[in-house]
Amino acid sequence: MSGGDKIPWEHDYEKALERARSEQKLVLLDVFNPG
C-alpha cells in the first residue's frame, strides 16, 4: 500500500488490536515487501 509516509501505521500487532478494541475500529493489515 503506497503513501506510507502519510498513513500512521502501527507496527505492533497487539497494539493495533488494543487500539481497535478501545477505539471501536477495524484493523487494516498491509503485509508488504520493501524490495
Partner: protein, 140 residues
C-alpha cells in the same frame, strides 16, 4: 478513508514477523486484510491495484466487515459509495450483489434483494456475481 480503521503494516522481510506471517498463511504482497479487534479476518485481497480499483476494493472490504458483524446499515452505506463513486471498477459488481444482501438482512420482508440483483444483471451481466444470483432466474 481510514478514519474507521487502525492501519497496521508488516514488512515480510522482517525475520521477527515470520511466525506471524506463517500464522497468517501469507504468500504474496501486497497482502491486505480487514480484521476485527480480535484479529479475526473479515476480508482479504492481494496484488497491486491502480488507485480507483484499490479504493473501491478497500471500501468493499470495510463493507464486508460491517456486513459480517451484522452492521447492515453501515455496510449498505459503503456499498452505495462504491457504486456511486466507482461504478466501472472490478469491485462494483460485488458491491451491487452485497448491497442487496445487506438490505435483505436488514429487512427480510423488503424487495431490495431482488431489485439490486436486477440491477446486477443489467449493469454487470458478465460478472461472477451475476452468476451467483442466477438461481433467482431458474424456473420455479
Amino acid at each position: 478513508m481510514l478514519a474507521n480503521a487502525i492501519p497496521f503494516q508488516i514488512d515480510n522481510t522482517n525475520k521477527d514477523a515470520f511466525v506471524m506471517l506463517h500464522r497468517l498463511h501469507h504468500i504474496w504482497t501486497p497482502d491486505l486484510r480487514v480484521l476485527d479487534h480480535n484479529g479475526d479476518e473479515l476480508y482479504r485481497w492481494d496484488g497491486f491495484l491502480p488507485p480507483s480499483e484499490f479504493v473501491a476494493r478497500m471500501l468493499c472490504g470495510f463493507a464486508m466487515a460491517q456486513l459480517r458483524t451484522k452492521h447492515f446499515e453501515a455496510a449498505e452505506k459503503l456499498y452505495v459509495d462504491v457504486l456511486r463513486r466507482y461504478p466501472t471498477t472490478f469491485a462494483a459488481p460485488e458491491a451491487q450483489y452485497y448491497l442487496g444482501v445487506a438490505r435483505y438482512r436488514n429487512d427480510p420482508e423488503g424487495d431490495d434483494l431482488t431489485e439490486q440483483w436486477v440491477q446486477l444483471r443489467s449493469l454487470y451481466p458478465s460478472s461472477e456475481y451475476r452468476f451467483k444470483q442466477y438461481f433467482k432466474e431458474l424456473p420455479q
